[in-house]
Homo-oligomer: 317 residues x 2
DNA sequence: CGCAGGCTTGCTCATATGAGCGGAACCACC
DNA sequence: GGTGGTTCCGCTCATATGAGCAAGCCTGCG
């Protein structure tokens, strides 16, 4: 049972065979002939070698992407996509750059001419579009209003326009804030021709990149932009995450409230209808938000960094 | 061709598949079903994964034996056995202990009741017998005379007797020095009943453990025990190694000289007839001696440590 | 001595796999 | 729009492989 059961000669023989098989890629029959063994014996030695840990198979990649972690995260959370960037980077800005690059690569890879791309406003999404260098010619639809902050120059409009130019497809964009003071204003804005046209295309969006915030100060641009009262109200309703204006609780259920009506953005049902929705979360504070977003089923693709990925895996097990 | 040709999604997919196949041990058909791919596609992705270095297969062992190096050394030198102990140990005595243990394990493993074991005198062989804990009941034959040195208490006689007692088989041992001052004395010694009986068993020996020295001061107990003149004479004849009293040159050819006749030990032809002859060399100074010994075909099994093994591989390539 | 039980070995046969092929899609260039 | 090159894909068929089995073979015990 244990490897110590075997003598050194046996072990070396097994090692030789394992190398022939795994490294040199020979067939078991060839190996059997070479070593004057039956192919069954070879197969058994290889089995032993594997489950005694004598051969260790490592999945690694010279680049920044931790493929093994990516694929395990993808499976653990039941995601369509998961890209885990393995970087020691701590600085949020530099991190966004790396994640943006990975997300941009992902997007150029998975978007085909048949798709309709939806983009929400988020710093991470902006970071992605800045790294984007090529994209199939697809319509690009703005999914949310803008959240203009003094420290951020880019807005959702620029983001969409830039992407559409790169792609060569039509852009459906509009100028409106993400949250407005009351529901009536929001309704009025949604009637605006450009806004209405963009919204009209929500149903045909097949792939989207959205923002993902944890419902706490400094963890969501939307939270930081809203009045304290509304924030508290949503928190009392159990909101732990906002997905580009869609609020979800810890179980992943969308939360509807008066605040929801004041948001000019894609809603939960529309987002749910999109085939692939990708978020780019980072920072350990977002663990619960990511879990909620994934549980909701609204988000089914993630581009993130190793610490957050590991935190997600730990709690899932 | 390059892995950078693929996007992240492709890479992650490949990683997932590689893990399913190599780690989980699923069949390609199963994987193909799971991922909705043709089995051919799966096979191609796995091929890519392998030869792009995405999956790395390591052969390792928690113990002291470097299996991968062992098996590669074995193949590189065309040996029947090669055990490479991976120890950072520098101290010769401690190293002998480790090699002795490995060699002892090897011997208990490979010696069966049908064998006849031959043992030569050598510190390393003594180290091996000291570590020996079990052995099939076989006859044990002393292959060489003793080289008594003031700093070494054990002699070849004790070594053989001890092993035979452990084994439970008969011992063929004799009291005689390894080298004597002249050929006549050697001849006379060979006539001695015990010596003659042991020599009479040389032909039936199937497995032997011998000493291996580099023909230089401090690298061979035999060299150090002989007069300078004889040493020089042998060196002029091209001797680079002594295998328990058998002298070989760099090409592995046995060298016969007047000195040879003064040795009371197994000769080259008799050693050549033994199925497995194992040596336990260590120390980088012995590289050439080991190569010569292997080239001669007299020695076909080696127990050594990583630095010497690597040195042997380097020069071979 | 004889026999039961565990263990190893190599077999059969159904299934998995690889080599090589031809067709479809794509591309760049006429 | 044609055209040759290239790549990718999935097929066929011969081969490799695994599951399970039965025969040999130790080993310990009555």
């Amino acid at each position: 049972m244990e490897s110590s059961t075997f003598g050194p000669a046996q072990l070396v023989l097994t090692a030789s065979i394992a190398r022939r098989y795994y490294v040199d890629g020979r067939s078991k029959v060839e190996i059997a002939d070479e070593f004057r063994l039956s192919r069954f014996k070879v197969a058994r030695l290889l089995d032993q070698a594997r489950n005694s840990g004598l051969v260790r198979i490592e999945i690694s990649h010279p680049g920044a992407i931790d493929l093994d972690l990516s694929s395990r995260l993808q499976e653990a959370l039941g995601l369509r996509r998961a890209i885990v960037v393995d970087t020691p980077e701590e600085d949020p800005a530099a991190l966004r750059l790396q994640l943006g690059k990975a997300a941009a690569d992902l997007l150029s890879e998975i978007v085909t001419a048949d798709d309709v791309l939806g983009l929400a406003w988020a710093r991470a999404v902006t970071a992605m579009t800045e790294q984007l260098t090529s994209l199939a010619p697809v319509p690009v639809v703005q999914l949310t209003g803008a959240l203009t902050r003094p420290d951020v120059e880019a807005n959702s409009v620029e983001l969409v326009r830039h992407t559409a130019r790169l792609s060569g497809g039509p852009a459906y964009l509009f100028y409106a804030p993400l949250v407005v003071p009351d529901a009536a204003t929001a309704r009025a804005l949604r009637q605006q021709p450009e806004v209405a046209e963009a919204i009209g295309h929500f149903d045909s969006v097949t792939k989207a990149v959205v923002g993902l915030g944890s419902w706490a100060a400094g963890q969501s641009t939307l939270y930081d932009a809203m009045d304290e009262k509304s924030c508290d109200q949503l928190r009392r309703r159990g909101v732990v995450a906002d997905i580009s204006g869609v609020f979800v609780d810890a179980d992943g259920r969308p939360v509807h409230s008066r605040v929801t009506d004041r948001v000019v953005a894609i809603n939960a049902a529309q987002m749910d209808a999109i085939d692939e929705v990708i978020a780019i979360p980072y920072g350990l504070a977002k663990v619960d938000a990511v879990r909620a977003a994934v549980r909701s089923g609204l988000v089914n693709g993630i581009v993130t960094h190793a610490p957050l990925a590991k935190a997600l895996m730990d709690q899932t097990h």
